[in-house]
């Protein structure tokens, strides 16, 4: 007594997608019980709590409504066809997942992994990875645009500008990418394909992928306020953590810069200073404390910075910067922040940065005035474009002679720190070719344009490096940032 039961689309989730099932039963009632045994949940869909056929559910036995026969007691015979038909035609024709997949497979063109690799190699298609963040972090195709499916529609426009461009979408196995491809097409992207087999097939075929670094929970908490800024975010914070900044001098400018750079999570901070903490330093050099007077500044700085952020790698160079050691010290760092206040060091820093192509964030202070700029070799002028040679010693006073308002190196040192962070993140417009001056008494900031000297001995295009110059015995008095004992 095998009866064919036709299953309406909304109930096919219960039959694993099948549109028909074969059931042996003597009556409709018995058939429903058998269906329930095989596919739990069926009975509740068809019958109410009292076991009567639900309102809005019609059962047609060979095209006759069983309500007009013997209801649920209508007998069945072999070869009968029983159709379950909702009384309501509209609306709920939601297809089963199986059907959706079948349709998408038909509608969305698929490309196989080797073809995607070839397209990528030639830059012929944008690869879009729609997997979740956790999956992406486990490894992804280099250069792929990460657009998690949950945010696809919201972020597509900003990530994919050209609606006519060739796009290959992939996920882990090739299913979600079909759905994502359909969404992109709905947004007006015309050439969207899905990578068959997804990232797992890409890996299986031995194609290269990268595994990005991610932040741990502690770092995520510590840098939470950075992570919410779109210009920083997780990738930006990772850049900061991976960056290495060298501070020339742990004095007035170096102190505030070092404190904030350490707080911001700059992973490696190098400090070059040969001096010891003097009582007169404490008026402005906030790295140091009264109980450390007489100790080396580098050690004092290390203590302060590690107390603030134990995650920072502090490397100290308790030596006088000279042509003999400058390249060895500079080599490992990405960026130099010059907080020195004497001319021999400035020239040495500049020359080494030109030779090694490192950005040099430069600041200086004098009484109530300060200035800051970025000398970035070949992106803008270098220090020697402005001052090819140092001034005569008698015109170059040190802080000890000239005096400085204690807060002022704070302002300028922090502006240097901001520029350093911008350069590390690659965001904004660095202060290259522009000099920002601050006049504290007038409360005025000004910007002056600095031009590259096409004939600069050091940084002009194609220039041979002319060598370092040690301006020994230059200053009228020893200076504090980098000085001999």
């Amino acid at each position: 007594m095998s009866v064919t039961v036709r299953i309406p689309t909304p109930l096919r989730t219960l039959t694993g997608g099948a549109d028909e099932v074969q059931v042996s039963a003597v009556s409709v009632r018995a058939l429903i019980e058998t269906l329930e045994e095989r596919h739990h949940g069926f009975k509740a869909q068809l019958c109410d709590a009292e076991g009567k056929l639900r309102r809005f559910v019609n059962l047609y036995l060979n095209d006759e409504d069983i309500r007009f026969q013997q209801g649920l007691d209508t007998p069945l015979k072999s070869g009968d066809v029983l159709a379950i038909v909702p009384a309501i035609a509209g609306g709920a024709g939601a297809p089963t997942w199986h059907e959706v997949l079948k349709r998408l497979k038909k509608e969305i063109p698929e490309v196989d992994v080797p073809e995607v690799a070839a397209l990528r190699g030639k830059g012929r298609a944008a690869i879009v990875d729609v997997r979740d963040k956790e999956e992406y972090n486990e490894g992804h195709i280099e250069g792929a645009i990460h657009l998690p499916r949950a945010f696809l529609e919201m972020r597509a426009e900003s990530a994919l500008h050209d609606r006519g461009a060739s796009i290959v979408v992939h996920c882990a196995s090739g299913v979600r990418s079909l759905l994502a491809a359909e969404s992109l097409r709905r947004l007006g992207y015309t050439d969207v394909r899905s990578m068959a087999g997804g990232f797992s097939r890409w890996k299986d075929q031995g194609l290269p992928y990268v595994k990005p670094r991610v932040l741990g929970e502690t770092e995520r908490r510590r840098y939470a306020r950075h992570l919410t800024i779109p210009e920083v975010g997780e990738q930006g914070q990772i850049k900061l953590l991976d960056s290495k900044v060298l501070l020339i001098g742990a004095g007035g400018l170096g102190s505030p810069a070092a404190v904030y750079l350490a707080a911001a999570g700059v992973g490696t901070l190098g400090l070059v200073d040969f001096d010891v903490v003097d009582e007169s330093n404490l008026q402005r050099q906030i790295l140091h404390t009264a109980d450390r007077v007489g100790k080396p500044k580098t050690e004092s700085a290390r203590q302060t910075l590690l107390a603030l952020n134990p995650g920072v790698n502090v490397r100290t160079f308790e030596e006088r910067l000279s042509s003999a050691n400058v390249e060895r010290i500079f080599r490992d760092f990405d960026l130099v922040l010059d907080g020195s206040d004497n001319f021999p060091t400035r020239y040495l820093v500049n020359d080494a940065c030109v030779k090694l192509s490192k950005p040099n964030v430069h600041g200086s202070v004098y009484r109530f005035e300060g200035q800051v700029t970025v000398f970035w070799p070949r992106h803008g002028p270098c220090y020697r474009c402005l001052y090819p040679e140092p001034p005569p010693p008698e015109l170059a006073p040190s802080c000890a002679e000239a005096g400085v308002l204690g807060v002022l190196p704070g302002v300028i040192g922090l502006l240097e720190a901001v520029e350093a962070i911008k350069i590390i993140l690659g965001k904004g417009r660095p202060l290259v070719g522009r000099l920002l001056t601050y006049d504290a008494l007038r409360a005025e900031f000004r910007k002056l344009v600095l031009r590259r000297d096409p004939n600069c001995q050091y940084c002009r295009d194609g220039a041979e490096f002319p060598g370092y110059v040690d301006y020994e015995q230059f200053c009228a008095r020893p200076t504090e940032a980098v000085t001999a004992r």
């Binding site: 009384a87 609306g91 939601a94």
Partner: protein, 315 residues
């Protein structure tokens, strides 16, 4: 004898002249004072959409979609109006096609109710049936297939993707609600069939006052509620014109709950269709939460449409 087809040139005059066109829209907003014991502080209002000449809210979007198509020339003499529908929109197409002088072809699931099928045929429209077990999607596939095969023969109105669907509600239904409430309301409750009502009304209300909450009533998957579409599962196809960002709250109302409300309303003298019952159940659930709410909902059609679906069967 059907009238000569209206064209872009004669459209303005026809909109004035054709009786059923003049009767569409400007429906009353009914204060519903049946639930004062359950929700004493709340005020509930419903738009009486069944008084449209086609008997449902669908007259509004269908008129707008057809007039815009006439204006643009997409609908012109020699073409037939084509779409899929399970009922009320089909009646609106058939009625307005007849009034404007255009043949109408509708693809409907075989289990569309007798009342609807017979009225559509009475207006002279052509019906194509699809297998009811395959659900509404079979009708959607068939209508797309027909259009693909003979694109020149038809103006395919495509109510699920036609932006003039929601614009009818933005300019009409929502504007009337704002005028009739003095712009003071806290919630709007309705469901999604094509998404036209929710998107059009929701947008206008949110622009007027972004604190107005849009509550979306959703049916169970089986058996469903006439004109409503379940959403929320990944496999559910979201109608292209639906703007889901407008929805502040989703609320599931089953066919049985909708029926219980229909029966209750009938005992109070309001004889309404299944979706009206579902929306009213949703509106009442909002009102019951307490607070000085002003809830507006829609009564899309009348109970007469559901005899053959056994909405009112007493067995």
């Amino acid at each position: 004898m059907s009238p000569a087809p209206v064209t872009a040139a004669t459209l303005a005059e026809a909109l004035e002249r054709v009786p059923v066109v003049r009767m569409i829209g400007r429906t009353p907003l009914l204060p519903i004072r049946l639930f004062e014991e359950e929700a004493p502080a709340a005020e509930i209002f419903a738009k009486a959409e069944w008084i449209n000449p086609g008997g449902s809210i669908k007259d509004r979007p269908v008129l707008r979609m057809l007039t815009e198509a006439l204006r643009s020339g997409e609908l012109r003499p020699g073409r037939a109006i084509l779409d899929s529908s399970s009922g009320n929109a089909g009646i609106a197409y058939a009625m307005l096609g007849a009034a404007l002088g255009y043949p109408v072809e509708l693809v409907v699931p075989g289990n569309a109710s007798q009342e609807r099928k017979q009225r559509i045929l009475a207006h002279g429209a052509h019906l194509v049936f699809t297998d009811p077990v395959e659900g509404y999607d079979a009708a959607l596939r068939e209508v797309h297939r027909r259009h693909r095969e003979e694109p020149e023969r038809y103006f395919f109105c495509d109510q699920y993707a036609n932006p003039n669907n929601w614009r009818a509600h933005y300019d009409g239904t929502a504007a009337e609600i704002l005028e009739q409430t003095g712009g003071r309301l806290t919630h709007f409750v309705c469901g999604v069939g094509t998404g036209g009502t929710l998107t059009g009304v929701g947008r206008r209300l949110k622009e007027h006052d972004r604190n107005i909450k849009i509550v979306c009533v959703q049916p169970d998957r089986f058996p469903s509620i006439e004109g409503l579409k379940p959403l929320g599962r990944p496999e559910d196809i979201v109608p292209p014109i639906l703007d889901q960002t407008l929805v502040d709250e989703q609320m599931t109302v089953g066919a049985d709950d909708a029926y219980a409300m229909c029966a209750r309303l009938a005992r109070c003298g309001l004889f309404l269709g299944q979706s009206s019952g579902a929306f009213m159940a949703g509106a009442l659930a909002v009102a019951r939460r307490g607070g000085r709410t002003r809830v507006v909902t829609i009564f899309p059609d009348l109970g007469e449409r559901y005899f053959s679906a056994r909405l009112w069967a007493q067995d």
